[in-house]
């Protein structure tokens, strides 16, 4: 076999495998889209056709015009956006401390953050409800933001730490000698250099908060503070499971999360590269 034949077959295999991955990743999303544009009368009769014989945007118009979905959507944007910003700020600080300082109790902090990943959050529903209701934080977007922020800080801290680990210590030392306090060096020198990491963390937390259902369901019982996952679940009961509309709402809800994710996934790999080997 000549080497060019070998490399051709190598590339065929490479692209073939990638095609498989892309198909596997996208097919379920395609199906979501397909169901959302299938008119109700064809939903079951043409259930397994790859594309319905008639398509319509009726589900989308209904969802946008006649449901609470736009409100849920707005609530979700507020909650996820604030959570992402808050978590990134807080995790930038603690991730920086983990990366740059050796302090007493550091191992305890790591342990604490690991433990928070080790039990089902279901356990916290009742205690948090009891904690929040006298403070007026149930049925409120603020309450959700606080809970989501706490849940996402540990992982985001590890993420930010790995980004900071990739930036030479020399830089803030130079700034400190130039006359900056450590905090100023952190803001003016280190943070600007970690922007990809900040973007990645923002995106990661945003998508996580965007899809949270359990606490959104348990802490909020009124529609005006509901987020879109709860609203989506509402389709199941209120409209006797109108799948077309639910999928249409689902597709709409996917858009911001996917956009955000597409923007940041590059930085995620880039940033992790720096810290990955050090662990």
């Amino acid at each position: 076999m000549t080497s060019s034949a070998r490399s051709t077959s190598h590339w065929l295999l490479h692209y073939g495998l990638l095609a498989f991955y892309v198909a596997f990743a996208l097919f379920p999303l395609y199906w979501l889209l397909k169901v959302s544009v299938t008119p109700n009368d064809l939903l079951y009769s043409e259930g397994i056709r790859l594309w319905p014989s008639r398509s319509s945007l009726a589900h989308y118009t209904f969802v946008l015009a006649h449901s609470d979905f736009p409100l849920f959507f707005k609530n979700s944007v507020i909650v996820s956006g604030s959570t992402a910003v808050l978590v990134t700020l807080i995790a930038a600080l603690s991730g920086y401390a983990m990366s740059r300082f050796d302090f007493r109790g550091k191992m305890w902090l790591v342990g604490l953050m690991l433990i928070t990943q080790m039990f089902p959050l279901v356990m916290l529903v009742a205690p948090i409800f009891k904690l929040f209701s006298p403070l007026g934080l149930t049925n409120s977007l603020t309450g959700l933001v606080i809970v989501y922020t706490a849940f996402n800080v540990p992982f985001a801290t590890f993420l930010m730490q790995s980004f900071f680990d990739g930036i030479p210590k020399d830089l803030e030392e130079a700034a400190m000698i130039d006359g900056a306090s450590r905090f100023r060096a952190f803001r003016q020198i280190i943070l600007p250099l970690t922007l990809p990491g900040v973007a990645a963390t923002l995106g990661f937390v945003f998508t996580a908060a965007w899809s949270e259902l359990l606490f959104a369901l348990m802490l909020v019982s009124k529609a005006d503070a509901s987020t879109f996952p709860v609203g989506l679940l509402g389709f199941v009961s209120k409209f006797s499971v109108d799948f077309g509309q639910m999928m249409a709402a689902g597709v709409l809800a996917l858009i911001p999360a996917c956009l955000f994710f597409l923007l940041i996934q590059r930085y995620l790999v880039q940033g992790l590269t720096a810290g990955a080997v050090k662990g």
Binding site: V22, L29, T116, F119, L131, L254, C258, Q265, Q270, T273
Partner: protein, 310 residues
Amino acid sequence: MSTMPLYEEAAPRRPAPLRRLALGLEPYLYIAPSVILIATIMLVPLIVGLSYAFRDMQLINPFSGGFIGLEHFRALWTDAAFWLSMKNTLVWTFASVALQFAFGLVLALLLNSPFPGRGIVQALVFLPWAVPTFLSGLNWAWLFNPVVGPLPHWMAALGILPAPENILSDPSVAIWGPIIANVWWGIPFFAITLLAALQSIPQDIYEAASIDGAGAWRRFTDITLPFLAPTIAIAVLLRTVWIANFADLIIVMTNGGPADQTQIVSSYIFTQAFRRLDFGYASAIAMVLLVLLLAYSFVIILLRQSLLRR
């Protein structure tokens, strides 16, 4: 010059205590927001939640709340549904992690060398991670339904299924439905982490190995894998713990059924808490899960340490 002795007296023995204190405090100021938040929103509720394990906490029963010692744990010991959920948790976690890892590693290797269109391919294959989990669950449940989804028909055509039926309603294989959905959703996590680790392996090591006569397979086993090992260990640890706790897909797709065959421990906790409203019993189960996961993590961390030391 005459002032020198004064300094000698004063300087080393009397450091400005406030300044030293401020320097020592600095790291704690940076971590304070995280610690306060985690402690009040997670740690305290966790402890309160764990205390429920020793109490009779029935939401529907206003007279409950008394301490009952180890009663829940005794009940747990003889609860067949719990032991079944333990077994299912093992299958669910092991199969999900192993498949996510294997597919993620292959994907990371495929994406590691540059080729035309890499950026767009990478963005597309990572997309499932952005899909809200319960939406993934709904969607996959839909795909497995023979009336509205193509998968049963394809599987029947391939001879995997005898007839196009919904695997989610077949007790013997139902658990594979959520596992497949989970693999679909979780491959990107491993792919991103491993790709990052792959890209930080210095290229000259590969060049040196080629010059030494190592073929592609030897380079993979002798360089790539050892370099990835620490990352693999930590990623597998985090994911295992996370997936063992991850009940969304199961609750959305099968709700633990049919006949509890897809009930894992964390979905069982959810069922106890919100369907039976027995928070005490739910907490007892959660406590057992927490202890098991802690023990597991401890073993993995020890393993990783010894790997790193080698």
